[in-house]
Amino acid sequence: MLVLLILHLVAALAAPLLVRRWGPRACYPLAVAPAAAFGWAVVRTPAVADGGAVVETYPWIPQLGLDLALRLTTLSWLMTLLIGGIGALVLVYSARYFRPGAIGTARYAGVMVAFAGAMLGLVLADDLLLLYVCWELTTVFSYLLIGHSTERRSSRWAAAQALMVTTLGGLAMLIGFIMLGHHGGTYRWSELAERPLPGGAYLVTAVLLILLGALSKSAVLPFTSWLPVAMAAPTPVSAYLHAAAMVKAGIYLLGLLAPVLAAAGPWRPVVLVAGLVTMLLGGWAALRQTDLKLLLAYGTVSQLGLLAAVVGVGTPDAALAGFGALLAHAMFKAALFLVVGVIDHGAGTRDLRELSGLWRSAPLLAGVTLLAAASMAGLPPLVGFVAKEAVFAAFTDRPLVLAVLVAGGALTVAYSIRFLWGALATRPGVPPTDLGRVAVPMVAPPALLAVVGLVAGPAAGVLDDLLRPYAELFGGVHAHLAIWSGFTPALGLTALAVAGGAVLFALRGPLAPALARLRSPVGPLQGYEWITHRFDRAAVDITSVTQRGSLPQYLGLILIVLAAVPGGALLLIRPWEQRLALWTTPVQPVVLLVISVAAVLAVGARRRLTAMLLVGMTGYGTAMIFVLHGAPDLALTQFLVETVTIAVFVLVLRRLPERFSMRPLRISRWIRRAIGVTVGATVAGLAVAAATARQARTISEEFPHLAVEHGYGRNVVNVTLVDIRAWDTLGELSVLVAAATGVASLVFQQSRTGPRPRRLEPDRQETQAGRPVWLRGGATLHERNRSIVLEVITRLIFHTAVLFSLYLLFSGHNAPGGGFAGGLVASLALTMRYLAGGRYELAEAAPVGAGTILGGGLAIAVGGGALSLLAGGAVLQSAKINLWAPLIGDFYLVTSLFFDVGVYLVVIGLALDVLRSLGAEVDRNIEAAGRADGGLAVERRGGAA
């Protein structure tokens, strides 16, 4: 069985290639896949004829207890025959239905075969979850097939509607399955059926949810609407999905579960009422249609209602009759759809008011149509008659249901005649329709189906034997599928239905006004439209309330929640009742006072530079606090970062307006301040609560010990960064690389990987003087922009700074420093070079791309981490390598040094990217603007530099 599924998969994947090569004719070889399924089912007939089953199980997802459990029983045997047989015929038909070169044929062929495979999986699945997976696969494939004409809006809408309705049902069904499986302890239906059912409301809920899925898939009320709309699909799709296969999945599920669940809770009333009402309304609606395909669609709805009621009711006789009817329906309805396709293909219309005289111009097609329609109407000796009589016979003990069934049967007869009359009859005043030459592959499939329907009628005894094992699941079967059961009440009712139908059709003239007025209670579009429109409106309303588009509003809301929820919780703990020391060292309050004052002043500052410097002051103050707290590494890093930040900020400030724009709204300013005060108080409270909340011992008590034993370093913070919490640091490096790339992307208009700036006019005089001078800012910078003092200082300390940064890097494992601090010092050195010498100087100072440094750094960090794998450790675990060198003697190397080198490079890369973007590239823009006489200034509206 698995082989068959794989065959479908392979065929589906190969289909687009084949179609590209051979055009629609590629459907012939593709038909082999479903044909193989058909052939396999035929071969396996003896195995299921006596009620046995063919079982295959393959492990799939053991964690979920989900196996590929496949099981062929009578029911799935019948479905496999239909899916395989009709699938192959429809594919053969498609080979000529689609014109060579038509758009989308490749997709159609692939999806159609995949659909057949999913359908096969659905009926073979024994595991309910596997069944659900296949169920949703058919939904998705049907979406693609219904939406075949992607350029048509109606087609897209129809596809989306089918998807929405059936997926909704499918999800409900999944919940029902899970409820059943959870209770029974297994999802294997063959095992679940043996276990005791849950009771009460639990069972009722599960049954209702499963019915929701089954009935929506089979387009039973109230989910009918998607099926007629789905007629936007190409006719082969309708023939397969909407007659033979997909809509039958719901009926199949009813049949599969009915032996166990039919007596449970609401199952029987729901299935009977929904099914019978659907049957009547669908039949009534079919009488009104002028489009032959729609007529068939409503006929299908009607028949699906009948099948749901008969299969779902769960008595032995009805089960036998129900699946007889399912078989008959699949054959005649698929044949009729294919006939409509032939007419549409040849005549260019399916409107029965425009067709005329086909019975004479296409006699063979007319014969096929007649056979199939007679089977639909239930005339002897066709299989439709056998099924209909058996259905009536199965319900003789329920007079009310029987009456509805007979009425439905009369409607069926009426629309069958209407279809024949509409498709074939000669209409006065309408020119005779000419189909041209009809290709054999388009006539043969419907003809074959019609003939099988003819043969199966007299041979109903065989069918009876084969389907009996299924019906016996419900108990002793009294009924028979037979062409002649004697003069029974059922035979009389069949005759009554035929007569009633004929009368209905004959009275179509007088009935026309009633037909026009009595529409189905809910039209195909209105219900679905109404609901989706409500949803759209609700979505817009909710979005417009929650998403006003204002950043301060969003942030304000988030912050208010922060103040309200954790702040509210604080009110309960009352952290302010803690007894706290005022300060630990006398210097602390002084520094903190400076920080606080600077922060408050920064809020009120009008000039950007002032605000920045005040904020920088809080940063330096924070560094001081770190020193007092006993955190030299932090203090060092904070000092360096603050300095680099100020430098970078000033680079951007060159371009931004000097002052912040004034906002006239006083109220919003006070609101902002109120939020600020509230959130500030909340965070202060949280800080008190957090600092005094410790009850357990901190894990970091182990860190000094771990640092020496496993990290081979004495600086605990550094070892924490490169070893104990190295994954954290690795994530941080990635963030830095992303930020650097983002900065460059935002500022560079073209690629940043292009040639780096070179000096425009190499200054030859100085080199000729025989004394190379570095830092030649004078050659490229305007006299006004030069700072001799800065140049001299830079000349003096650049090399020292770079050396110092290397020292910090290498000593960081045992003393304050490390990759971050070292990288920041090197960045500062580069910043000075740039400030003193301009952008060409920067390019000379670092003649490598920033991207190269970033990538190299990340690679070294990761590679260094992976190095410990060689030493037999985990990734990023430190290893100690003992070495010897002359003059130095024994020394050792810790692999985490490579990680720190990576950190060092990434930090430099980030700084370099920032300098190149916000420094050099902005310089270039300024120069370009100056050269083009404010060309840039013209670009920006109302810009003020």
Binding site: A581, A631, R673, I699, E732, V914
Partner: protein
């Protein structure tokens, strides 16, 4: 065991975060950025005061028992450098914004304002544009209902 926690530091944390929040709610990106830096400083102090104070956590310099807590320090060190990357990124956005609009103010989101207008006009936002009109479809099975075709007359 001294946690290093004391009243003055908590007040300072509150002031830093409060000022930061006030700036964060401004429209000017520079102010937003400064606000984020202030909040960052405040939160870094919060984290660091979560561990005890003491001597530098370097073996050989301080006895392990007298060391300050190394774990929050490592976290804050990461945070400081990340803040720097973030600052650079926001500055680049500020510059970009200035380059495009002449200022670094954050305007309201245009799409969102459009949705607000649609809600006021009782329209829906999903417009299935493209394709042909209802009448031009030869295989049209159900002509779309009235309000749907009205909906499709969206911009475009």
């Amino acid at each position: 065991m001294s946690t290093g926690a004391n009243l003055v530091s908590f007040v300072a944390i509150g002031v830093l975060v409060g000022c930061g929040v006030t700036l964060l709610l401004e429209r000017s990106l520079s102010r937003v950025l400064l606000g984020i830096i202030l909040i960052g400083n405040g939160v870094n102090l919060l984290i660091i005061f979560g561990g005890r104070a003491g001597g530098a956590p370097i073996i050989g310099v301080t006895e392990p028992a007298a060391m300050s807590d190394a774990l929050p320090q490592a976290m804050v060190l990461t945070a400081i450098v990340i803040t720097f990357g973030f600052t650079a990124f926001l500055l680049a956005i500020s510059y970009r914004s200035w380059y495009l609009t002449g200022d670094d103010e954050v305007p309201d989101d245009v799409e969102d304002r459009q949705i607000v207008r649609r809600a006021a006009a009782k329209q829906v936002s999903t417009a299935d544009l493209g394709g042909e009109g209802a009448d031009e479809d030869p295989e049209q099975v159900f002509p779309p209902l009235d309000h749907r075709s009205r909906r499709d007359e969206g911009p475009g």
